[in-house]
């Protein structure tokens, strides 16, 4: 089983999650392969973000197993959990920057926790990562409350990327960005993935992102993954919701 798991970054089997008497996921299976960008789509409230939170350990599943980088998340020790902090990066929906720190200090938090670098080098890394996500270096001295939603998201991504993690989780990365910004974001994710062999788990609503970025797409419906595969296969999958989603008026525009 270990040998099979080797090219799998995230392996979910029989996942069940829920709040009170409301069940979000029921018997959900999903594999994310190393070095791929997997896009998870689903209707509003279908539990896409909950799935992401379950994988990174913020929500405790009721049943099932989640293995991330060959580590069973339910049996993870506290030390190991700290180590994972530098192996994965997470971009939350609104960036989740620490409001009492400047953007630059925010980006340096993972560095400070994991290694000892001089101020000069940390600043250099900060400016580089800000430029990576398309922000001016001056932004480093501002506080999150002075930034727009799109800028906060970019700064959040810079923080998630600062240690070049193996795994990147993105929760609606392009929501709230203008089309130009969103396209640049897509290109950035693609570029990073190709240069660093990043594995990306991406929750999105954005059909453009799915087309531009994702190697595979997984459709979450009714608490399970109904289909997962390359976009062109998923589009042909015979399921009413999938057909509605990809071949509805908005999906068709893309095909043209």
């Amino acid at each position: 089983m270990k040998s099979v798991a080797n090219n799998i970054a995230i392996r979910i089997r029989g996942l069940m999650t829920g709040f009170d008497d409301h069940i979000v996921h029921n018997n959900l299976d999903l594999d994310v392969y190393k070095g791929e960008i997997l896009g998870v789509v689903g209707g509003s409230g279908s539990g896409k973000s909950v799935l992401l939170k379950a994988i990174i350990g913020l929500i405790v599943p009721r049943a099932g197993t989640i293995e991330v980088l060959d580590q069973d998340m339910s049996k993870i020790s506290l030390e190991k959990q700290g180590e994972f902090g530098s192996r994965w990066g997470v971009l939350f929906q609104d960036g989740a920057l620490f409001s009492s720190l400047t953007v630059g200090e925010n980006i340096q938090v993972p560095i400070r926790e994991n290694m000892k670098l001089s101020r000069e080098i940390m600043d250099e890394v900060t400016f580089l990562k800000l430029s990576f996500v398309g922000l001016k270096p001056e932004v480093a001295f501002k506080y999150p409350s002075d930034l727009s939603g799109g800028m906060r998201k970019r700064a959040g991504l810079a923080r998630a990327l600062v240690l070049d993690p193996e795994l990147l989780f993105l929760d609606e990365p392009t929501a709230g960005l203008d089309p130009i910004g969103a396209a640049r974001f897509d290109a950035l994710i693609r570029e990073l993935k190709e240069a660093l062999g990043l594995t990306v788990f991406l929750v999105t609503h954005d059909l453009d992102t799915l087309h531009a970025v994702c190697d595979r797409v997984a459709v979450l419906y009714d608490g399970r993954i109904v289909v997962a595969g390359p976009l062109k296969d998923v589009k042909r999958f015979d399921h009413p919701w999938v057909q509605d989603y990809f071949n509805g008026p908005r999906g068709r525009v893309l095909a043209d």
Binding site: M115, I121, D123, F127, K136, F141, A195, G197
Partner: protein
């Protein structure tokens, strides 16, 4: 991850310079990489060859430093050629030119004294504008209240009833308990002091006057400021940051009518009732303590109580109650509506609402004391 240290090997002959890069070019090795870069001599007028075949691993920061090395070489060398660069790394290094921005100047940091002075200036300005706006808000609320009185049908009765339950009924327990205990404490301490000159019976006078006139209503006001004033700020503040207040305005509803007036009316109406309840519980606590400590029967206690208390003492406490309620409600709602931006701001305004309310209640209480003394009550 720090297995192989990055190195730059240097060799070469006249007019030529060969660099070989080895090791893991990771961010965790950044200090060493930086040192290597800085110790690489100037390539002035030489043909530089960079051999990258022995780089075992790299990340984006490593790529950035290789880019910096290239730039450093290109600045002086006659020619620079890179050989055996991993195609992935080559792409990454190439893409770095887009990120080659000069670091910005840090914002100027002012000196300690200057900083404090500036803060003091801002604070003064903020205080002035705060009180100016608060009075403007009181005026606006008054205007809307008069309008509401003239069109009572438009008044939000459901909302009023909801807030009455919230600030009134649900507060009964804590107000009653605190008053009961304070009444008992006044009698307990008063008895100890007055016993020294055999005037224990005056403990009843002490309790009657202090509790009915000041303690009952003040305690109630302070509890309500902490309990309901803060809740008003937090409720309205979170509505403000979720743009619910803007939505009200756009729909054509006045936020003051919808959010402030029901809360204000509820507190003005409920404060005298809570104060009356606090008076009763305080006296009950005092009576029990007198019975326990002084062996004073309930009959004796209440006979003495009736003789010691003028109706005006009771009225003075009750008259103040609706004014305190109004101050707490207006402060709470004003702070709630002043919230801007983030959730952090809600917390700041909630704190300020409570502190301001208690402060203003006590100031007003002092003014009332002066007034009642002047009119000989």
């Amino acid at each position: 991850m720090t297995a192989v240290k990055p190195e730059i090997g240097l060799s070469g002959s006249a007019g030529k310079m060969a660099l070989s890069l080895t090791g893991d070019w990771f961010i965790s090795n950044a200090p060493r990489m930086d040192k290597c870069l800085k110790s690489t001599p100037s390539p002035a007028g030489k043909d530089v060859t960079i051999d990258a075949s022995a780089i075992t691993a790299f990340d984006t920061f490593g790529a950035w430093l290789i880019f910096r090395l290239l730039k450093q070489m290109e600045a002086g060398a006659k020619s620079v050629s890179v050989i055996k660069l991993n195609p992935q790394l080559q792409r990454l290094v190439k893409s770095m030119s887009a990120h080659d921005v000069s670091p910005p100047a840090k914002p100027i940091e002012v000196g300690f004294v200057e900083k404090r002075l500036k803060a003091l200036g801002w604070l003064t300005a903020a205080m002035c504008s705060h009180y100016g706006q608060l009075f403007a808000f009181i005026g606006f609320v008054l205007v809307r209240s008069i309008k509401a009185l003239r069109h009572p049908k438009q008044f939000r009765l459901t909302s009023l009833v909801f807030h009455l339950e919230e600030v009134g009924f649900n507060a009964l327990f804590i107000v009653g308990l605190v008053s009961f205990l304070i009444g008992a404490v006044i009698v307990n301490q008063g008895a100890i002091q007055l016993r020294q000159f055999g005037a224990e019976i005056f403990t009843v006078d002490l309790l009657a006057i202090s509790h009915l006139r000041e303690m009952g209503v003040l305690l109630t006001a302070i509890l309500i400021a902490g309990r309901s004033g803060s809740a008003f700020t937090a409720e309205i503040g979170s509505m403000k940051i979720r743009e619910e207040v803007d939505a009200l305005q756009v729909i054509g509803l006045n936020p003051v009518d919808v959010l402030v007036l029901p809360r204000l009316m509820a507190l003005i109406f409920i404060m005298p009732i809570l104060t009356f309840f606090a008076d009763l519980m305080g006296i009950l606590g005092g009576a029990l303590m007198a019975w326990n400590m002084l062996d004073l029967s309930f009959e004796a206690f209440f006979t003495r109580f009736r003789d010691a208390t003028l109706m005006t003492t009771f009225y003075i406490g009750m008259i103040k109650a609706p004014f305190f309620g109004a101050i707490i409600a207006i402060n709470g709602c004003y702070e709630g509506l002043s919230v801007t931006g983030s959730a952090e701001n809600v917390g700041q305004h909630t704190t300020r609402s409570v502190v301001q309310s208690i402060f203003m209640v006590i100031v007003l209480d002092a003014l009332f004391a002066m007034f009642f003394t002047a009119v000989d009550w």
